[in-house]
């Protein structure tokens, strides 16, 4: 499924990076400052800030306004949208195939005795 250029594709692009996913995982445990978020990574504060900007633009996190203490917080709604979308797509085809299988079996059972209408 090609995602149209919209918010969802920005989100997908933001999620494509392992560092950003690790940041999200950390924020799932609670809000954190940029310094706290940078700690597990071998990365400068500006480096982490760049990732945070991408996540923010993608609607995945928000950051407090205070100059010194700017805690980052997860915005789970967007992540849910993405997960829902893909989960539903998977489920759609998996379960449709199951139903199709049952239908085709029924059809063959009814075709077999008569067989007259086969092309």
């Amino acid at each position: 499924m090609q995602i149209q250029p919209d918010e969802l594709s920005t989100t997908f692009a933001a999620l494509a990076d392992p560092t950003r996913r690790a940041i999200l995982a950390r924020l799932a445990e609670g809000e954190a400052t940029v310094t706290e978020l940078a700690a597990p990574f071998d990365m400068s504060l500006p480096g982490i800030s760049k990732h945070l900007k991408v996540l923010q633009r993608a609607g995945l996190i928000e950051q407090g306004r205070q100059a010194q203490w700017r805690p980052c917080r997860l915005k789970p709604e967007r992540l849910r949208d993405v997960a829902d979308w893909l989960g539903q797509y998977r489920r759609h085809w998996e379960e449709s195939f199951e139903r199709l299988d049952a239908y085709l079996q029924d059809l063959q059972d009814t075709q077999r005795p008569g067989k007259g209408d086969e092309r």
């Binding site: 499924m1 995602i3 692009a13 993405v82 998977r90 299988d101």
Partner: protein, 166 residues
């Protein structure tokens, strides 16, 4: 081609994998190809199987020829109706067809993209391959990394509930 093929949670009966920017579903049906083709392209038959369990499908429009439009309305007890729609791009009976598979997400507009279905004889059975073209490897990886981490999603759910409580 096979180098980029990564399993994405295949089940006993359905093979699911990604190949570059494509998400692929494969299943072999114990039926002749003609029957399987009809199941996908006959508006009388589509409502009998299309959509997940617990849903009903009404075919509102289905003009099976290149440039023709299709529109299915999916109903379920626990949600509002969802309309899937698109356009047939290529038709090659009974071997393959390509259409766009679209649906509207509130606040985000139309989502989806092209999807190709191919039908192949495997002895007396028929292999169906449905390929969703995701557009970019990054999009697919990002989506799968999130969507399939079930435990993580539950965490988000709980967090969301927590945040809602204030």
């Amino acid at each position: 081609m096979t180098a980029t093929r990564i399993d994405r949670g295949s089940t006993e009966s359905t093979t699911i994998y990604s190949d570059g920017a494509d998400l692929v579903f494969e299943r072999t049906f114990d039926a002749p190809r003609e029957n399987v083709w009809k199941a996908f392209t006959d508006p009388q038959i589509v409502p009998r199987w299309w959509g997940p369990h617990g849903t009903t499908t009404t075919v509102a429009e289905m003009d099976v020829r290149p440039g023709g439009k299709w529109r299915y309305v999916s109903g379920a007890a626990d949600r509002d109706d969802v309309t899937f729609y698109g356009e047939y791009l290529e038709i090659d009976p009974p071997r393959a067809f390509k259409w766009t598979f679209m649906f509207d997400v509130e606040g985000m507009g139309p989502q989806g993209g092209p999807e190709t279905h191919t039908f192949e004889d495997v002895g007396r059975r028929t292999k169906v391959k449905s390929v969703g073209h995701m557009g970019s490897v990054e999009a697919l990886e990002g989506a799968l990394a999130t969507g399939m981490a079930g435990g993580a999603i539950e965490t988000w759910d709980r967090l969301e509930a927590l945040l809602a409580e204030g």
